[in-house]
């Protein structure tokens, strides 16, 4: 009895030693591995799982990339990032960010410049248009993962060519509506939210104006094109080309209306293409993509929305993060993201890939829209001035206020924000 107990305890001791040995071995290896983490919004964290796994296998025993799955909503995601960055201690090395956040983060001094890591040839490899919105005040801070741009979707069974100018869009709509072919002409995003700013940006640029000139820090909302753009959008509703409900539409509502054949035109993002071409879609095979309408002689404009990687200044693993960014944004990775998740590529090579073009003929159209991409104002106070614009536009679209008056007000309020926040007074 005594003996067996002693035997048992020595066995136990041996077992403990063994366990301790086994558990320390990976720890020894792990200490040589650089562990880096990148914060991404939930949809991106989910769609990049496979790529991240591939990266970790490729750099086995060297780098371990850990993706932090952030909230789904863009604003909650930014709130989360800002609150940890304000504390000065960043729990992540990289951040996948929306195009409109960049000036704010860069000015706050949270981002590391990427110029030492990406040179001229890297930038030349980007598709025309995708190079926009990655720098702030002359420094490169962001490398794009996906592009997104405003498109005009039209029905190929109702017309031969898409409209080029605002008045063409109106006259084609009128004609189709009086013929009874469609109940509505044009659907877009008219709800009071960021999508409305994107719609308006395309129109003010299409009428030859400019929302905010970054160089002079001057606003153009109450100048002729600014007021005309607001007036045109308001008239669409008042003349019955767009349904009154368009003032409650975001992207999904506009898509639902257009997909069920209720309208001849829709403004939306590239993701809508795949939805419209699904097997059960009533308008399958009857859809064309074009750029937004603009006055004769004025370049059409597509609002650029894109997500890209940034490197945080507080990171201790900068080279490892750059390796991860380069891997995740490579042409091969983007091909996977495009085919499996429909993300619009940002590298030129994919738009020139004959095999890909054969399977996805709309790539050429996307490339043309990306070429016409325009940026929302590149200012750290973008969120505030966009909010002011959305409010004024909404008041004008719902008929509470005349477009001229509301654009005047938006211009003045934006100016007050700029001055109060310490921008250059004019």
């Amino acid at each position: 009895m005594m003996f067996s107990r002693r035997k048992f305890s020595s066995l136990l001791l041996g077992l403990i030693c063994l366990v301790a040995l086994i558990s320390t071995t990976p720890a020894l290896v792990a200490s040589q591995i650089e562990t880096i983490s990148i914060l991404m919004p939930a949809p991106f964290a989910d769609s990049t799982v496979k790529l991240v796994d591939n990266f970790n296998t490729l750099y086995k025993n060297q780098i371990h990339l850990n993706v932090i799955r952030g909230p789904r909503q863009t604003e909650s995601m930014s709130d989360l990032a800002i609150s940890s960055l304000l504390l000065g201690d960043t729990p992540f090395d990289g951040l996948l960010m929306d195009i409109t956040w960049l000036p704010k983060y860069a000015r706050a001094g949270w981002l590391e410049g990427l110029d030492p890591y990406f040179d001229e040839t890297d930038i030349a490899d980007l598709a025309s248009g995708a190079e926009k919105g990655n720098d702030f005040e002359g420094t490169l801070y962001r490398w794009p993962l996906v592009a997104d741009m405003g498109l005009l979707f039209w029905r190929t069974d109702l017309m031969n060519t898409p409209p080029k100018t605002p008045s063409e869009l109106v006259s084609i709509s009128n004609q189709l509506q009086t013929q009874g072919k469609v109940p509505w002409g044009y659907v877009w995003q008219g709800r009071q939210y960021e999508g409305l700013s994107c719609v308006y940006l395309e129109m003010i640029d299409g009428f030859g104006g400019d929302w905010f000139d970054v160089n002079n820090q001057s606003l153009g909302l109450n100048e002729v094109p600014g007021v005309e753009a607001a007036q045109w959008l308001t008239d669409l509703i008042e003349t019955g080309i767009s349904p009154r409900a368009v003032t409650t539409f975001a992207e999904p509502e506009a898509l639902r209306n257009f997909q069920s054949g209720e309208s001849a035109f829709m403004r939306n993002w590239p993701y809508a293409w795949a939805e419209l071409q699904k097997q059960d879609s009533p308008v399958r095979g009857k859809i064309g993509i074009s750029t937004m309408v603009s006055l004769p002689g004025v370049e059409p404009a597509s609002t650029l929305g894109s997500w890209g990687f940034t490197l945080l200044r507080g990171s201790n693993h900068k080279d490892a993060v750059i390796k991860a960014i380069k891997y995740l944004t490579s042409a091969e990775a983007q091909r996977v993201m495009f085919i499996e998740h429909g993300y619009t590529p940002t590298v030129k090579a994919l738009y020139e890939d004959l095999e890909l073009i054969q399977d996805y003929p709309h790539l050429a159209l996307l490339s043309r829209a990306l070429n016409n991409a325009v940026l929302r104002p590149e200012t750290p106070i973008y969120a505030q001035i966009s909010d002011v614009l959305q409010r004024s536009l909404s008041a004008s679209l719902t008929g509470e206020e005349k477009p001229k008056l509301s654009m005047n007000r938006a211009d003045r309020s934006s100016e007050q924000i700029l001055v109060a926040a310490g921008g250059t007074p004019s």
Binding site: S76, R191, Y193, S394, A420, G422
Partner: protein, 291 residues
């Protein structure tokens, strides 16, 4: 002299806790301190205040906050009074019923707001499931600017009515029973007993509950932040949430401070005028009684 010396510790304490932050916010409201100035304070005179006066988002939020406060506190007082009257009656398991009625109030706001967000969710919440099962359209309560604020009021009422009921119950218990006896002996009806005895004697407690609740409702933040985040189209945004957004989302600390000081002044005026009217009302009544 001794009086001042005795008061000094509390004066110093109040100065540190309330005076210092208020003064530093006042100072900040006269400066630009934002991401544009790289978080340095640069004197900009009345620019923040000029923006504040013309900021229609703020004034919308101000009206919305008042709407929220008045609606929720009003309903809470009414329901609280009814519940207090019920709980005051002798009945079986009164202790149990009284303590279990406090459960909503004991829940952390964040937890209960998250719960209500799910209940009102469209299309997965039970309310939407119920209406769509009946063949009606999805209500999308939290997605519609004209109904979202009602949902926030509803949740606030659900949570804080027990608190009001508790204060009013304490008030009811302080009313001597012989007053009611005398009332009945005089042959007065139950409703006139309520109007002549219960309500007047309960007035100080109602006032106390209203003051507590109004102050809290005016600064509502957690409930709104969790339930709607201020949306849709900032139709449920409160002043506190807007101040938070300016500081932490827009990184404009100067204007955030302006909102806080501005709201402090407005609230002070509001409370002072309420107090004035109550005072006027009381004096009128006491004159009537003496006559």
């Amino acid at each position: 002299m001794i009086l001042i010396a005795l008061l000094l510790p509390s004066i110093i304490f109040l100065g540190i806790v309330f005076g210092f932050p208020l003064l530093s916010y006042l100072w900040l409201s006269l400066h630009a301190n934002s991401v544009l100035t790289s978080f340095r304070s640069i004197f900009n005179g009345w620019a923040n205040w000029n923006r504040f006066i013309h900021d229609y988002r703020y004034w919308q939020d101000f009206l919305q906050t008042i709407r929220f406060s008045v609606a929720s506190v009003g309903i809470e007082l009414l329901l609280g009074l009814i519940i207090a009257l019920i709980l005051h009656r002798p009945m079986k398991f009164r202790g149990w019923i009284r303590s279990s009625s406090l459960i909503p109030w004991a829940l952390p706001t964040t937890v209960m707001a998250l719960g209500w967000r799910w209940i009102f969710n469209s299309p997965f919440g039970p309310i939407d499931q119920f209406t769509t099962a009946l063949g009606a359209q999805s209500l999308n309560i939290l997605g519609n600017p004209s109904t979202a604020w009602i949902a926030t009021v509803y949740s606030d009422v659900w949570k804080t009515t027990p608190f009001v009921a508790l204060i009013l119950l304490a008030g009811l218990q302080s009313i001597p029973a012989d007053l009611y006896e005398a009332c009945r002996l005089e042959g007065a009806s139950a409703s006139s007993c309520f109007r002549r005895i219960t309500l007047p004697l309960l007035m100080p407690y109602i006032g106390l509950a209203a003051m507590f609740r109004l102050a809290q409702a005016f600064g509502v933040f957690d409930l709104i932040q969790v339930m709607t985040g201020g949306g849709p189209a900032s139709s449920t945004e409160s002043i506190a949430l807007y101040a938070y957004l300016n500081a932490l989302r827009f990184l404009d600390f100067g204007y955030g401070a302006t909102i806080i000081i501005g709201s402090f002044i407005l609230l002070s005026i509001l409370v002072a005028s309420c107090w004035f009217f109550v005072h006027l009302f009381n004096r009128k009544r006491s004159i009537m009684i003496t006559k």
